[in-house]
Symmetry: C2
Subunit: 214 residues, 2 copies
């Protein structure tokens, strides 16, 4: 059965998956980029962004897994852009430029309809305005038997966790303190009931945890 | 300069330092004992509680550090017992029986005066009803040049963090989800500003982090 997986989702020691005050200058919120330094140091993540070099080892293994057997991605609206409300002139085409690092269909959750947007090298953004289940259904269809990645952000993951729709979740704990921001394990009603830790491994810079639905 | 140190303070993946609903049957809150299994498996912690055997290695090294160069401890009232309000007949003498595992003076924060309570083998409980600074001053005096351990619980550590009185803090992240309870990094006003991670090391079961005041 194809899975819905969260991969390489980094949180701080104090539990934040993004810094506060996201805007065009701070796609990850203020200070949020500290959560991703480990990933951008890996060979896999650098390759995914068209760069050479990078580290191999445990962090790279996890970074690579985030691409493996994945053929569609779901993201919340804030992961696509800083625009709130209607799409306006539709000139915003994502944080990533002409060639976003997905290279497969990406389903963007939104309350505001918008026509699909085809970018370079296989990335098409589909805007889904009828809920998280519909987005998952469309993404699974598009993935054609492969897994679907749930990209984030925090609020989107919480919605899917509350609905018990996530099969696996890889969280990378980064030993830094953000102090403020969006906390991953929050607003979960009965908590993350029904999920358990099935893998725990650390590099010198990150503690990797894989949770699975029991 | 003698330091105020938090040692071996365990939190769950979702950030809880204790489970919910502490009472006589659940000194660590419901489910909270899962946070301490790693510590009670170590040789140092077993020895401290009068037991033989136990594991050596990284977890044990950290467990041992929690006893090293420490000559007084401060604890919040809930760490001493489940009684709220006045002390009643004073028959409660702590969670630990006749020989508590401190073997040095312990300062219990409370709003309710009580005479000192001398237990076996060097442990005396002093009840401090004039605030966290007074407790620290008395504990530093009692420690005679050695460090003071801040035992917890969560609310007490938060008080000392807000006052920037903690010099070092060792947090052990345990890969389990509690879902509810008392979150360590919460109610911190400006967050843990001014603290940074100075050590990060993992065993197969715990991610150890040492924070220090910058």
């Amino acid at each position: 059965m194809p899975k819905l997986r969260v991969q390489n989702f980094a949180i701080s020691l104090d539990g934040y998956g993004a810094g506060p005050d996201q805007n065009v200058e701070h796609p990850l919120g203020v200070g949020g980029e500290r959560l991703h330094e480990w990933a951008f140091a890996t060979r896999s993540m650098r390759r995914m962004h068209g760069m050479e070099g990078g580290e191999t080892g445990l962090d790279d293994d996890f970074a690579a897994r985030g691409e493996t057997e994945i053929a569609a991605t779901i993201v919340g609206r804030n992961m696509f852009g800083p625009i709130r409300g209607s799409w306006g002139d539709e000139s915003w085409t994502g944080w990533w430029g002409d060639d976003p690092p997905f290279h497969h269909p990406v389903f963007v959750l939104t309350h505001h309809p918008r026509a699909p947007l085809t970018m370079e090298a296989g990335t098409t953004f589909h805007f889904v305005d009828d809920g998280i289940e519909a987005a998952l259904e469309q993404a699974l269809d598009a993935a054609g038997g492969a897994d679907v990645r749930l990209g984030g952000g925090v609020a989107t993951i919480q919605q899917y966790l509350r609905a018990r729709l996530i099969d696996e979740m890889h969280v990378a704990i980064v030993p830094t303190l953000l102090g403020r921001g969006e906390r991953l394990f929050d607003h979960l009603d009965r908590g993350p009931d029904g999920y358990e830790c099935v893998e725990f491994a650390c590099s010198p810079s990150v503690a990797h945890v894989r949770l699975a639905r029991a």
